[in-house]
Symmetry: C2
Subunit: 221 residues, 2 copies
């Protein structure tokens, strides 16, 4: 394979409590660029399930759109996730934040009985069917587990969340800061990031490690 | 001086077109942590001047609060800028984004005739009076220029913006990616970041360089 690898990044809003965790999202973009690949951000064009005031932690009465708010992280350069085609990319990665568990799926409310947004489920299945790798940070592995079922992954070490992943058919493996669980057969790479109490440097370390693992799988083709 | 240096980070919202530029803000926090210092985010508790849809680039009719939106970048750990006391910190730094030129000041609308938010002006003057260093990225040096007047700084190479800084009494010096202009007498450090056409890796490089320069001045006391 020649030329830059092209990675699609699936965002879920802008802010840890109702969207993509901003540090994880930015440091994923940085890791992709620093490792010589290019990125294109995507998000579903749907209303946010909640808008949370990040100063008070309380839900507000506002309404916001996931694609429009994700565009803040992407500096406007973002596409509707329905336009994603696995054929155009070498891998797909989802940063974490409650947006993955509220907007991309209903995992925050329904646990292992959650549903997954159609465009998100299609993007994951399309990538898997194309034999290309999928990455997920923090709580985003829950979305991958719901769609793919039998896959090895990590959300760190929280027992309740790990049990919910297992109830969806996944095999949870504990992981610490900067550690990546690689399922070579399913081509899925995951890392805990803010599912553990972390400094921002540890998030950078986790994002770098999971992106490197994703790019390695992508190069193996 | 023993212990970690403590750096205050002045945010202006969450998103390049109406708030803090998110990549610059996150990569400033990362650089502070990676270089062994600690950070505390601050923002003024005021309405945003505009809310811009980052997908379309158009201003919307929504109203948002600068402190509340900045809390997204800070993961909720943020204080009203009026609570900032230079005595509690070793330096103060402002990431860029239009928020610096719309919310922290009116530079985007009024150029060299701009006004600066009272809490922002007080924070800058208090830091200067305490003999502590001030950093600014991207367009944020315009705010520092308006408050301090005679200071050497950079916003990259844009002639119109540079002329506006000079009209406020500052001396503009051209700088490229990752380059920092240090005014040792005024203890002001600046770097262009997204005032130049940049990759996210170049923003990381600029944030790292300006934070390192800030910490060096802070250690010199």
């Amino acid at each position: 394979m020649t030329g830059k690898l092209r990675i699609a990044v699936g965002l879920s809003g802008c802010g840890v409590y109702d969207g993509s965790e901003i540090h994880e999202a930015v440091l994923t973009l940085l890791a992709i660029d620093r490792n010589g690949a290019s990125y294109q951000c995507f998000a579903p064009d749907i209303p946010q399930v909640q808008v949370v005031n990040h100063l008070t932690g309380k839900a507000s009465q506002e309404t916001r759109n996931v694609l429009v708010e994700s565009a803040r992280i992407a500096r406007g350069s973002i596409k509707d996730l329905r336009e994603y085609r696995a054929a155009d990319f070498d891998g797909l990665i989802f940063p974490g934040g409650f947006g993955a568990a509220k907007n991309l799926s209903s995992f925050a409310f329904d646990g292992s009985d959650c549903t997954v947004n159609d465009a998100v489920a299609h993007a994951i299945r399309d990538t898997k069917a194309a034999g290309k790798p999928i990455g997920a940070l923090c709580i985003a592995p829950a979305v991958v587990a719901k769609v793919l079922g039998r896959v090895d992954l990590t959300i760190g070490s929280d027992p309740g969340t790990a049990a919910a992943l297992e109830a969806m058919g996944a095999h949870h493996r504990k992981a610490g800061h900067g550690e990546v669980v690689v399922d070579r057969a399913a081509k899925v790479v995951t890392t805990p990031c803010y599912m553990l109490d972390s400094t921002i440097s540890q998030i950078a370390q986790g994002a770098e490690a999971v992106v490197k693992a994703l790019l390695t799988l992508a190069r193996e083709g």
